[in-house]
Symmetry: C2
Amino acid sequence: MDAHLPSALHDAMSTRLGDGWLTGEACRPFGGDDSRRWAMPAAVALPRTQDDVVAVVRACRSHRVPIIARGAGTGTTGAAVPTQGGVVVSFARMDRVVDIRAADRCVVVQPGVLNGELQLALAPHGLFWPPDPSSADACSVGGNLATNAGGPRAVKYGTARDNVLGLVAVTGAGDLIRCGGAYTKDATGYDLTHLIVGSEGTLAIIVEATLKLAPRPRAQAGLRVLYRDAATAAAAVSRIMARPATPAMLEFMDRSAIALIRHNGSDVPEAGAMLLVEADGDEDTLPYALQALADAAEGDGMMALDVAADGSARDRLWAARRALSPALRTIRPGKINEDVVVPVSRIPDLVAAMEALSVDAALPIVVFGHAGNGNLHVNIMYDDGDADETARAQAALPKVFARVLALDGTLSGEHGIGLSKRDYMADAFSAATLDAMHAVKVALDPDGILNPGKVLPPREAL
Amino acid sequence: MDAHLPSALHDAMSTRLGDGWLTGEACRPFGGDDSRRWAMPAAVALPRTQDDVVAVVRACRSHRVPIIARGAGTGTTGAAVPTQGGVVVSFARMDRVVDIRAADRCVVVQPGVLNGELQLALAPHGLFWPPDPSSADACSVGGNLATNAGGPRAVKYGTARDNVLGLVAVTGAGDLIRCGGAYTKDATGYDLTHLIVGSEGTLAIIVEATLKLAPRPRAQAGLRVLYRDAATAAAAVSRIMARPATPAMLEFMDRSAIALIRHNGSDVPEAGAMLLVEADGDEDTLPYALQALADAAEGDGMMALDVAADGSARDRLWAARRALSPALRTIRPGKINEDVVVPVSRIPDLVAAMEALSVDAALPIVVFGHAGNGNLHVNIMYDDGDADETARAQAALPKVFARVLALDGTLSGEHGIGLSKRDYMADAFSAATLDAMHAVKVALDPDGILNPGKVLPPREAL
């Protein structure tokens, strides 16, 4: 047992949870996430019921011990890392699809179910849950909700926050609260549901969610469109988004991303920018939707447009996008990947600013991502074995955020804040706005035991 | 000057706001809304700037004087009525469309702009703001946000909460906060934007909003479908909502609503239930969408289906819906209209429960509304000059809410809570959930000056 854990807490939890209470070396796998950060938990709880979670929170509160809710550990910001010790609550044993309500287009789930498993369970009903982070096969729905995860489909279907109807959660006061339900319209009291989504386990711990579902489209088709430069591609994004039929995906790659996949053998021609556009719908209407998107994609600066109407052509088209992450590793082993957001009309300014920053820092910076939402992934590439490159990469990061905020953008569109962006929050928000967020934190977690040190900068730093 | 207003507050506001500070009889028009409630404000402030609003809130806070934010006074719950006196803040002079950002598919507005005026300003850009309450020509965007207003289009496009990207607001602490912005994806800190929407001026006063826009569809067409009973109509609603192409409207009328419009001269045949379904989109694809909706509408219990493919046929179709509210007045002068919500699959149970309640209460109860969202308007009709009928209507109301909650529904889908449903909140939420809402209220309005007595039941009542 960890020396930092009060023995009364240990005894009570050990009795209640049995083999669902881990201490010592068994806790090691529950200490890290995809941010490369890691810290040893004092203990790990594996609750089986909502009441178990209430019991853990109340016990921890009475001893002022931190609680860190954990999904599948695929987060990129350190949000699930127990940097101040305490008890990690893993939802590995609360992973059931509780109730598929096809007639109500919603599903009730426990937080530990994996996104990919949920999609498999929904498929026979002709339904899906829209959030599609690249880690979908490995990430949990609870983690998706905690970070407000997105993915390419968000341009049409929204993010996790847009696709949740209700929650059952345990506040930092140890109270089980229930908000929303199996309905899509709600003007009854305060919207705690959407407040808790994206709060990264700092306001309340989600123990059950009612998720909004979408009907599975029967057909898909795609376009690959090359442009002279980022400015003409961004103008096309605005034209495409002005159409009544929103594309199902609208992905962007900048000049350096295209050069990279070409260098790695892709058949994409040389260009200043590329859009990958996907339409979905019924077989009857898809050709029209694709034609409308193609019409909107055409304009000043367009160099080439390829249609992928069938499955194999579509696979080839998206192969270019999938090739990108592995290709990044071939230029430098180290990568700082930030999922910044700017207004769509500011995409060219962002790309130009990143090109200038790349020259300044003498490091490759590759920009690609979800253009329809203005949510671009800025990848600063560096050799993490080279102290000088590492220092230059780290020095470039605050400049990325400064440029994004100067363009009226924000720090994160789908990864969240966690630890890695926490200290930029005071640049993104006024002191009064951060004060209001702190006040909400205290309201739901009066003793500050839920995931301390994450999302909001410490009060004394303000 | 009202005797209840501290003279220091009066003098300071009178100096700052000039003719934008009203007292005495001039306040009379600012004391009521469409709930038939009215109370005399101690004073009315007509701010011109965000700083004016900050000054009003800070001055009122220092004197512990209530502040009631007011849009256009079309609310139905008494939320804008100054039942505890204090200063009504009217946004009649903050009514500008600040910035139409067509390329970013959003618009920045002041809260006092009317919904209908905003739509006119957006039309030349081929865009619209989706919330479409029946009072659209007369209601303000600020009021729409405060109540999370909806309308028939919400089934496809969402409510006010789903169509706001960012807010500038003044908390009860007198702080100007800014959250969200001109982007559609945000995982940066706590979502105060969606929390403030629907809080009816009790958490913060909205002074500017960035609204999400949708492209105007180029064509519309409709279906009128008659069913044997509510159960077969509700099954059709689930089938329609399971299609990839969500209808733009999906309205329901029960047997008594159909009988009523028939009695008033409508050409609708006799039936147990009716659906009005609308598709929107491009000219190319609309016929397919309409056919798909017709296919889904067909099934057990369907009696007749009429297509309204062109403008005049569509007008005739929707005329039946529009005829309903005036027709209601012909059966009884008094009406209690509640916009309850149930899961779509529970619509038949709700309709059956209201039929039984109508018999019990010996009063007509007419049910119609937004079936795709399970958001039905239950109208208890009574003669408000008849003490016995009035008493029976008032006694029936709690039974309506009890039935709705027993069906896992909620109190309001688009009107909000205000005063009229406040005392049912303890039936809709657990004590712990209401405690959490109260804690959030205290966090953003520490002295309880923002619209006191609305939304949440008083603490001592819990």
